[in-house]
């Protein structure tokens, strides 16, 4: 395993990303970036299965956008839209993240240990074997899964805050599913979303994902697996059929 260290102190994101890409081309499998502060677009569009990029600090927005393959570990909070349109790989955040986490994501996984902002998983999609997953350890703000077209969101409520306490969950959802540990107030559901109690089969489907998340952050998975989950899914495949079109 080849390790490359990069000091990002006062380094703009362009040279930083050039260093990351050069390291991958030169065969690095572990890239550790220290003193990250506010650099956006870190790891955008990079490819390479088996490459781990560790970000020490607080990165700027759009971390791992279009990324295909590598794992990014953030030791700090992330800003808006980590995992934006990500294709493959993992983003693991030891902290919280801003708005639009996993925006338009098309594959891979994003794990956030704590809380996320508004519009988590907005416009997430899926196709064939590509099925993106966002797991949030804590709580999500309003409009979670807005316009969601595919993929899976899981919210665990482990930070002492009600996992869903704001409006518009699944507004315009027409594909994919959202699983929330515990009950969700019907008032918080958006237009086009419906909720049911997750069946044993559905819980079995998320079991390996929750186990992986728990292992990643050193959490006991047993109580998480024993809980009831609310499943939020599309009420129909075309929630706005009558709003924007006519036959």
């Amino acid at each position: 395993m080849t390790t490359v260290h990069i000091d990002a102190h006062r380094l703009h994101y362009t040279p930083l990303n050039q260093k990351i890409r050069a390291a991958i081309v030169n065969g690095a499998t572990e890239i550790i970036i220290d003193n990250v502060l506010g650099q956006r677009f870190i790891g955008d569009g990079v490819r390479g299965d088996g490459v781990t990029i560790t970000v020490n600090g607080v990165p700027g927005g759009d971390l791992g956008m279009f990324m295909s393959g590598p794992t990014i570990i953030v030791n700090g909070n992330a800003d808006h839209a980590p995992g934006n349109t990500m294709d493959k790989g993992k983003v693991i955040i030891y902290g919280s993240a801003g708005d639009a986490v996993a925006h338009s994501m098309r594959g891979g996984r994003v794990y956030v240990r704590d809380n996320i902002g508004y519009r988590g998983g907005i416009h997430m999609k899926q196709y064939m074997e590509k099925r993106p997953i966002l797991v949030v350890g804590g709580a999500a703000r309003a409009f979670l899964g807005e316009y969601m077209a595919g993929g899976l969101l899981i919210v665990l409520g482990l930070t002492g805050i009600t996992p869903i306490s704001e409006r518009g969950v699944g507004s315009g959802i027409h594909g994919g599913e959202i699983l929330v540990r515990g009950p969700v107030d019907e008032l918080h559901l958006g237009v086009g979303a419906k909720q049911t109690l997750a069946t044993e089969e559905q819980k079995a489907m998320i079991k390996p994902i929750i186990e992986d998340f728990a292992k990643q952050f050193g959490i006991d998975p047993v109580p998480l697996l024993a809980s009831d989950y609310t499943r939020i899914s599309p009420a129909s495949a075309r929630p706005f059929a009558n709003k924007y079109t006519w036959e």
Partner: protein, 350 residues
Amino acid sequence: MCGIIGVIDRNRQLMDGGKIRESLAMMDERGSGEGAGYVAYGIYPDYKDYYALHVFFDNIRENKGALDTLLEKWGTIVHDEQIKTYEQPNIRKVHTPWRYFFRPDRSLMPKSTTPDEDIVTHLVMKVNAEKNGALIFSSGKNLGVFKAAGWPEDVANFYRIEDYKGYLWLAHNRYPTNTSGWWGGAHPFNLLNWSVVHNGEITSYGTNRRYIESFGYKCTMYTDTEVVAYLVDLLVRKHGLSEKLAVRALAPPFWEEIDLMPPKEQELNRAIRLTYGPALMNGPFAICVANEHSLVGFTDRIKLRPLVSGESGDRLYISSEEAAIRRIDPDVENISMPKAGEPVIGRVYS
């Protein structure tokens, strides 16, 4: 997209502008180099009882005499001077910034009960509407706005912002979207002691503008944010609302949310929405408003723009990005995201 940063030291300890400059400059990507600005409170202690008028003159020789005459008709200019600027390769100095320390003179208007603030407001509106080569872009006491068309670091260097020390700062990096960038269109927007920085766009601008102009304010800056400064002046200074209720009027809860409130809350929120319907601001926004006592941050009701707050001792920070706060104060604590439409407020202790 724009970048904003605000900080208040509740114990009125002064901070120089150096770190604010660095913080704003690290959000350069949020702007387009067409406008940046800073406001600092507590910078003119020697003239703290006078209105500090910051003016952009197109041409000193042609435009200054008329303003001097107007101000002297209404009051006393105790001191005036050119604001020191330092040539920057990326800033074209199309205006000359000037400062006046001015006070309305009661002996010139016997028996008038008009408050000084209204006289100053009238003068600001009159001068800015006439567009005779003078624009008053800052008119509060013991505070000053410093802005221009350029990148954050260039505008800071143009004014040597690190030479100013204030207990409350706002700064803004502009990305104009609907109108072109110019010096007067850079933020902060100021009237009296109110200063406003804003990321987003106010799509209800037409309604808000008609409403605020019916009270005598005049919108002259070719951009939406100035209505916010005038709205807070109307709601808080003239109508006596608290900052919290003013935010409730500008970004009120939805009717269906009001329906679920306890009866007394319902009554209050209905009254605010009905009274201040035309002050309601629609569209995406994250805003910081300051006066000499407080810093208030809030977003639109469905949170279409980012806003993060953090604390460190006596200081409250509000910004578009957590990293921008950490650039000033790496040890900042209690990082949090205010709920949509709900204000985060920092107030000086005394």
